[in-house]
Structure formats: C-alpha cells, structure tokens
C-alpha cells in the first residue's frame, strides 16, 4: 500500500479520476439547477454511483492486488446471480448451481490469487464445461436439457471466467514493469468505463442514426464513433503509465473500446430476449451489476491475452 501511494504516476491517475468526478458533479448540479427532468435526475444518480464505484475500485487497487481479486470475485458473484435469475433453470439444476456459485467461482479467483495460470485458463472452459451437464444429467430431468446446461455455462463464462481476467492482469510478468501491474488494471477499467460514459454523452448530444434499434435503442453511430475516438485518445494520453509505446497504447485502447461496445451490445441482446431493460437494480441509476460490467466482460480477456502474448 505504501509503495502504491508513493508512486507518483498512480497518484496522478487517481487525481485525474477525482477531477473528472468533480467536473461531472458540477455539470450535473448546474443542469439540475437550470432545468429538472428525469434524464437529469438519472444522470445525477449515475454520477453519485460513480463516486462510490471509483472509491471502491481505488481502495481495491491500493491493497496491492488481493483487494482487486476480492472485488472482482464479488462482482462476478453478483453478476452471475443476476444472470441466473433471468435464466429459466429447473429444480433439478439446483445442485449444479450450488457448485457454480460456491465451488467453481471461488476456486477461479483462488487461482487468480495464487497466480496458477495453467489451471486458471482451463477450469471453466474445460472442467466446469464437462461437470455442469454431467451433474444436471445425474439429477435426471431431461426437459430443455441442452438449453439449461448451456445457459449456466454461458453465464459462468461471461460473469466469472471473463471478469476474472481483469485481476489476472496482476499475474503477468512484463519485463521492466514488475510491481506496476495495478496500472494495467486501472488502464483497462478506466478506458472501458470512460468509453461507456462518452458513448452515452455523445449519443445524447448528437445521436441520430441507431445502430441496432431492436437490440439497443440507445446506441447510435454518432455516440459509438464519438465515444470510441475520444476514449481511445484519452487512453493514448495515459501511455506513460503502461508498458506500451504510444502507438501500441492507442491500438490497445482502441481494441478495448471496441470490445467494450460489443460486450454491451451482446448483453443487451440477451436482455431483450428475456424481456427486461436492466439486469437488476442494485446500482442507483445504472441498473444491475451486470449492466455496469458487461463491457468489461468482453474487453478484459482480450486485453489480457494481447498483453500476455506480445509483452511477456
């Protein structure tokens, strides 16, 4: 913790986020003062939640690793709870679900904490993949069998496997970057979330042409392009905190924003299919946990593997 606080760059990153939050809060209050509406109230609720989320994330980073493993483990738990709630499982799946929540999920994060990469990368795609349908088969209910087992596996992949790649960034051994991996985590999360926010802002300001009216009525080309470009530029400005060169940073930031967009779009498609607007209601103004981290689910593993392949 002490080394992190002494580290000037990390402090600057935190100061940057703090400044952003202050500016956003001011704008929100001015808008409220000028004209109150549901959109403005929702915006202010979102900003308020951002304060809390930023504080939790900053604290988890300051613990130097373990805190982030625990934080993302909890996020996985709550996200999976939202996912399974909307998935029509049957009583015969009960035991498999117990394993998923209380054995496989904690084990995955234990493997992140102990930095056992080999097992970490196959636990869910191989072992859980074979275990879940077997356990359901033993329960003896064949009704919609493939649908049930694949939905549980899918939830586990998105909410646990993909999300666990974010704290797994801490286990990468990048030459000349030892002890600084928390910054990669910061880089990823900040770009993904900024890109979400900026797409929302650009979309509200200029949005005309819908990308996919059926799946996500709020996503527009103007918002997508504006958000992607501005988030990529902000990401590039952070290049000194990364182990990458300027151009590499820009490429990474761009890929992160694109993956984040695809994550949001894909998870929206599932929501539309289930006939709901949000995954839950646990974060004021944002919806559920899964609504907030859907873009991280997709950006996390790709950023992890690109970094692992090219820089370790």
């Amino acid at each position: 913790m002490v080394t992190m606080i002494r580290d000037r760059q990390t402090l600057l990153l935190f100061a940057g986020i703090l400044a952003l939050l202050v500016v956003a809060t001011l704008i929100g209050q001015i808008m409220r003062w000028r004209r109150r509406s549901d959109v403005v109230d929702n915006l202010n609720a979102r900003i308020k939640a951002w304060w809390v989320m930023s504080a939790v994330f900053a604290l988890s980073l300051l613990t130097g690793g373990l805190g982030s493993v625990i934080l993302f483990g909890l996020l996985s738990f709550f996200a999976l709870r939202e996912f399974i709630t909307l998935t029509p499982t049957r009583p015969a799946d009960h035991s498999a679900l117990f394993w998923v929540f209380f054995i496989i999920l904690p084990l995955q994060y234990y493997l992140v904490a102990t930095q056992w990469y080999g097992f970490f990368s196959v636990l869910i795609p191989v072992y859980a993949f074979l275990f879940i349908p077997s356990r359901i088969a033993i329960s003896g209910d064949a009704n919609a069998f493939l649908e049930r087992s694949s939905k549980i596996q899918w939830g586990l992949m998105v909410c646990v496997y993909c999300v666990s790649h974010v704290p797994a960034l801490l286990m990468l051994e990048i030459p000349g970057y030892a002890g600084k991996n928390a910054r990669l985590l910061f880089f990823l999360v900040v770009i993904v979330q900024l890109s979400d926010v900026l797409q929302y802002v650009w979309g509200k300001l200029l949005g005309r042409h819908k990308i996919s009216p059926v799946i996500s009525p709020s996503k527009t080309w103007e918002g997508f392009i504006g958000g992607t470009v501005s988030a990529t530029l902000i990401g590039t400005a952070l290049w000194r905190t990364t182990p990458f060169t300027v151009w590499q940073t820009m490429g990474m930031a761009f890929i992160i924003t694109i993956m984040g967009f695809l994550g949001g779009l894909t998870m929206s498609a599932i929501k539309r299919d289930s006939g709901v607007k949000d995954w839950g209601s646990s974060i004021q103004g944002h919806g559920g946990v899964l609504d907030r981290i859907d873009s991280i689910c997709f950006a996390g593993p790709i950023f992890f593997h690109l970094t692992r392949y090219f820089f370790t």
Binding site: F77, I84, T89, P91, H94, S95, F98, F101
Partner: protein, 203 residues
C-alpha cells in the same frame, strides 16, 4: 446475541436473494398487521421479515409449523429465540390447543404476524386455495390490517426438498391493507384475499 444472529440471518438472506422490496399502497408503521404471503420455500418468512424496516422486525412474528421448527438445536434456536415464531401444529391431535387461539395469543396486543394461508409450500407458479384461518383471524381482530404480500423467486433459492440455498434475486411485494367485510362470507373473502396476492404479481 439474538439481535446479532438476526442481523446475520438477514445479511445472508440479502447476499442470497437481494433486497428487492416493493410497496404498493402499503406504508410500514407501528400498527399491528397480519402479513399473509404465498408459500414456496422454508426461507419465505426470513425474506418477508428482512423486507420490513428493522424496528418492525422485532414486533413481527412468523407463524411456522411446529413439527418442523420445534426440533432441538439450530431450528428451535432460530425459530423460537431469534424469530420469536408462533408455532402451530400442522396435524392437530385431540387435546392440542386450537390453532386460531394460538395465533390470537401470538398476536396479542402488540405483535404482527406473518402467515402462509395456503398451509403448504407450492412450486412457485400457482397459488393454492387459502385455508380458513385468515378469515377467522380477520373476524376476531377487525382492528388489525391484513396485508397481502407476494414473494417471488424464493422457491428457486431453496426449492422444496433441497437443503442448501443458491443465490437468486427474489422480491417481496406488500399490497394495500384489507379487512373482512361486515357480512362477507368466508369463501368470498378468501378468494378476494388470494386475488389480492395474484394482483401483486404484476408489480
């Protein structure tokens, strides 16, 4: 100690089932209430209890089956000491006290009750016909508000026949207070009460 355990149980319930509460024409206050709820799981009353504001929890007693909760050990401790449950015989024998008297006694002058008028746990999709106890309580104590309450998805947290719960978002909805009408007949009232719960489903 009991308070700490109660807090812990509420905490576990929140982690498992979330804390989703809807109030449709219901304001929690210190008045005596009888919350009547559809029954799908052993966890139902914990969830309803947790959905009430903390100061109302201590005055609210769940009504539970004696044969299940009056077993030595954890169940009796939780049921009797922590939740202060009113225990009733499901299969009364001659000589056992009249169930309605037990309930009226449990209600007393300051408590509220949580009751499950279906009498037994359903599968969460349908609501069975109500037993007459609710009607008789309403007749005996017209001063007490009857609150229709709908509990959703708890059967997936802990289905019938399972021992360990899994996380699943559930919700509790409280509806508008109702009373037995002056000359309302038993079946008419029980149907009205059951429909009040069915209506809460849409919320």
């Amino acid at each position: 100690m009991r308070r700490v355990v109660a807090k812990g149980v509420v905490g576990i319930a929140r982690v498992l089932a979330g804390g989703n509460v809807r109030r449709v024409g219901f304001t929690p206050d210190d008045r005596q209430r009888i919350y009547f709820v559809n029954h799908t799981s052993h966890l139902d009353f914990v969830l309803v209890w947790a959905a009430l504001p903390p100061r109302l929890r201590t005055m609210t007693r769940p009504v539970a089956a004696k044969d299940y909760w009056d077993k030595p050990g954890l169940r009796r401790y939780l049921g009797v000491k922590v939740f202060n449950a009113v225990l009733v015989e499901r299969n009364p024998t001659t000589g056992s006290p009249n169930a309605i008297d037990v309930l009226l006694d449990g209600l007393g002058e300051k408590h509220s009750l949580i009751i499950f008028p279906e009498g037994t746990r359903g599968d969460g999709t349908t609501i069975a016909q109500f037993k007459s106890g609710l009607y008789r309580l309403g007749k005996e104590r017209p001063d007490v508000d009857l609150i229709p309450s709908y509990i959703n998805n708890v059967n997936r947290v802990l289905p019938k026949g399972e021992f360990v719960p899994v996380p699943m978002l559930a919700s509790v909805s409280f509806g508008e207070p109702m009373h037995v009408g002056e000359d309302e007949d038993k079946n008419a009232f029980l149907d009205r009460a059951r429909n009040a719960i069915l209506e809460l489903r849409q919320w």
